[in-house]
């Protein structure tokens, strides 16, 4: 498959760009909700609009009422979300939870997918335990209890956790904390007894929860996938989340870069446009190169995921790590090249830096993923 968008995909990109550029714009969404101290960190109206656009159920198979598209298409939407810093539960709900629910029972799908597709429900995913992403280790326990399970543990960095109607929770039904096997995924509804949230605002004005599971009782049909065999589904959710975060990161990088290149063409110092200064030209060109390369890796990872390739998981880490580097460079150069005004809250460039930081951390940072590339490559 060629590594550029098909005509259909190019049309979707145009639609998504127009929609996010208008409805998802920074002034209309991010600043609006932030300045109101919104407890969700995003607007439910926009989420509903995204459903009307067909975005919410993009990855859901047609048989289940969705559009049956792939990660390339999800990435197209995410890149525009990134470019406009649009706060929404798209990544956690339509990409990650949807990837999990593909493995749910017919009953589970029937319970959750209509709300997702309609933009009526929000979903979160609870994997991390501790401040760093280390999904190889799952300590949260799910013990057999009657017909179902009883969950006990703590989860961190659960983005949109307190806003979610359901949280996909990775817990351990067997084995030791570091075991590959023995993991099971559960759909935990918001009203489950024993489910607690300490919801905190992050640097990018998004909301994330420290979730406590204090003996949460669930029926057996809350299980997604196989009991004890959840690692397979978890890995798919992780890959989807990583590649999705990479795609959003590319949007952040390109948005930041475009804004900066525009500024270089407008700002004068020493009697010249600062974009005439060769040192800045070379740095901007290097940045362009890094962002293009990161984008190619991201699209490749999307295609491999859609093709079900064995190489997909390796390339997911390559993409997440490379985007981490490139987008990090884009926002740093963006703020520096904007000079003093880049430090002010009034200008948007600083918002790109904040979002980049949170996205870089989400589902594993550049260090985690470069290390994973090495491990998967046998060294």
């Amino acid at each position: 498959m060629p590594l550029y968008h098909t005509e259909d995909q190019a049309m979707l990109a145009e639609t998504a760009a127009q929609f996010m550029g208008e409805e998802g714009a920074i002034g209309k969404q991010l600043r609006h909700w932030r300045d109101r101290g919104c407890k969700d960190g995003f607007g439910h109206d926009l989420w509903k609009q995204m459903a009307e656009m067909g975005f919410t159920g993009l990855l859901v198979p047609e048989a289940d009422g969705g559009l049956g598209m792939g990660h390339v298409e999800a990435g197209i939407v995410l890149e525009e979300i990134g470019r406009n810093l649009t706060p929404s539960p798209f990544l956690t709900s339509s990409v990650m939870a949807a990837s999990a629910l593909a493995h749910a029972s017919a009953e589970g799908k029937g319970r959750w997918l209509p709300g997702l597709i309609a933009g009526d429900s929000v979903f979160a995913v609870a994997i991390d335990e501790g401040a760093k992403h280390r999904p190889e280790r799952i300590a949260t326990r799910a013990e057999k209890s009657g017909n179902g399970f009883r969950l006990t543990g703590k989860k961190d960095f659960v983005v949109h956790g307190a806003s979610a109607d359901m949280i996909v929770v990775a817990a351990r039904t067997a084995g030791a904390d570091d075991d590959e096997d023995g993991v099971t995924l559960f759909a935990v509804p918001k009203d489950a007894a024993g489910l607690g949230h300490n919801s905190v605002r992050l640097v990018d004005s998004s909301m994330a929860s420290h979730v406590t599971l204090d003996g949460v009782e669930l029926d057996g049909d809350a299980v997604i996938g196989e009991v004890d065999g959840g690692r397979t589904v978890l890995n798919k959710v992780l890959d989807a989340g990583r590649v999705g975060a990479a795609a959003e990161g590319i949007g952040v990088a390109r948005g930041s870069m475009d804004m900066t290149v525009d500024y270089l063409k407008q700002r004068k110092q020493f009697g010249k446009l600062i974009g005439e200064f060769q040192a800045l030209q070379h740095r901007a060109a290097h940045l362009y190169s890094e962002v293009e390369i990161a984008r190619a890796a991201t699209i490749k990872a999307q295609q491999l995921l859609d093709a079900g390739s064995e190489q997909a998981s390796l390339m997911a880490s390559v993409a997440k790590a490379k985007v981490g580097k490139a987008a990090g460079l884009a926002v740093k150069e963006g703020v520096q090249m904007h000079g003093g005004i880049g430090m002010t809250d009034e200008y948007d460039i600083g918002l790109y830096m904040k979002r980049d930081r949170a996205l870089a951390e989400f589902m594993g940072d550049v260090y985690y993923h470069a290390d994973r590339v090495a491990r998967l490559s046998g060294y």
Partner: protein, 393 residues
């Protein structure tokens, strides 16, 4: 040497008697810093007692001459005092742009009358100063500034706008670069001093990405600045139209300060601290910390060497530019690593556990390091031109 040891013993005893226990802890936040000025209030009695003891001893500005409010300490004595204060973690009794910026300018360029008048005010914390340099159109290209003072005989009428005036909304007086000759770019700027309560002066805080707002925009609308404040107390430092010399001199000071070359404390590896706070480190994060620590420990040596050389006049005059460049870039990298090591916890913006997102806000704050006081790009240009003597602009 024997004298110095005697001085050390004496200083230790004086500190023991005069520095309250509450003043022997690291500064936690802005409210722990005493800035002085007309509207100053003390946070608590300890802060007041410590300030007043130092003021009376000349220890707010220990190395300034006694007649200007200092203690007249020699460089060696001043170093002993710093060491003894550091030993007990004593807080600075007074923080002030008067001490850091205007004072050095006056000591170098001021008339005797100006020194007596202004330096004593600064030393006693009576007047809080702010700095009026940058303008919206004049950032790196500072000399292109447009704020204009029209000569009206015994006074100027100043009109224009400044930006990045630190704490202008809290300051009593401003030292301000004002164009007084439009025909002459470098030799048409005057370094003026005037009261922020003069009619026509207004300020507006600038909210930063860190969520703080230490800076202001400051507007001058027909501000009347007298040319003299008394006998031998002209309103400008240095000659009229030669304020650029003063500004350049001060930028050197500022660069030294920002470079962290005088920090001294940053001489241990951050990797160990990160491991303690983060638990096991990812191997690649550990690698980055190690590479950083190599650079940071080497830079600490450079800071020591730079200060040693400055003392004896061996440092190249443009070396502060190099130090400022390297020091600020390093500090930005340090805080990137703090954020990485802190993971999702470090992302929290207003939780109690993170003291209101202290780490994230500090991280964002450091992004200004390589902009304020001369951008990294300007610093590199100065090094290329003045040290490496490369041709052209």
């Amino acid at each position: 040497m024997a004298d110095l040891e005697a001085f050390r013993a004496e200083t230790r005893a004086w500190l023991e008697a005069n520095c309250p226990p509450e003043m022997r802890q690291p500064v936690q936040d802005e409210s722990d810093v005493y800035w002085g000025g007309r509207r100053a209030t003390f946070k608590n009695d300890a802060q007041k007692a410590w300030f007043e003891a130092c003021r009376d001893k000349g220890y707010t500005v220990p190395a300034w001459p006694k007649e200007y409010g200092g203690a007249g300490l020699s460089p060696a004595e001043a170093k002993v005092l710093r060491e003894e204060m550091a030993r007990i973690s004593a807080r600075p009794p007074l923080s002030s742009f008067g001490i850091w910026m205007l004072g050095p300018a006056l000591l170098h360029f001021g008339t005797e009358g100006q020194k007596k008048h202004f330096l004593n005010q600064i030393a006693r914390g009576e007047i809080r100063w702010c700095q009026g340099y940058s303008e919206p159109g004049s950032g790196s290209d500072l000399v292109s500034l447009q704020t204009f003072g029209e000569d009206k005989g015994d006074h100027w009428i100043v009109n224009g706008q400044k930006i990045w005036t630190s704490y202008a909304d809290k300051a009593d007086w401003i030292f301000c670069l004002v164009r007084t000759d439009k025909a002459n770019k470098y030799q048409g700027i005057t370094f003026m001093l005037y009261d922020m309560e003069t009619p026509g002066v207004t300020t507006k805080p600038i909210l930063l990405i860190s969520g703080n707002s230490p800076f202001c925009e400051t507007f001058f609308d027909d501000v009347k600045v007298p040319k003299s404040y008394g006998e031998d107390i002209p309103a400008q430092v240095g000659e009229v139209n030669r304020g650029w010399d003063v500004a350049k001199y001060l930028l050197g000071h500022e660069r030294e300060m920002i470079s962290g070359a005088d920090g001294g404390a940053r001489t241990s590896a951050i990797g160990a601290a990160m491991k303690r706070s983060a638990g096991e480190l990812d191997p690649l994060l550990r690698a980055e910390l190690a590479m950083f620590d190599v650079d940071a420990l080497a830079y600490a040596c450079m800071g020591e060497k730079f200060l040693d050389e400055i003392k004896v006049g061996k440092a190249h005059p443009a070396q502060p530019n190099m130090m400022k460049y390297a020091g600020t870039e390093l500090n930005k990298r340090r805080h990137e690593l703090f954020m990485a090591a802190g993971g999702s916890t470090a992302l929290e913006w207003d939780s109690e556990e993170t003291r209101g997102g202290a780490r994230a806000r500090e991280w964002l704050r450091t992004k200004a390091n390589s902009i304020e006081g001369g951008t990294s790009e300007v610093m590199l240009g100065v090094v290329a031109k003045r040290i490496l003597e490369l041709p052209g602009a």
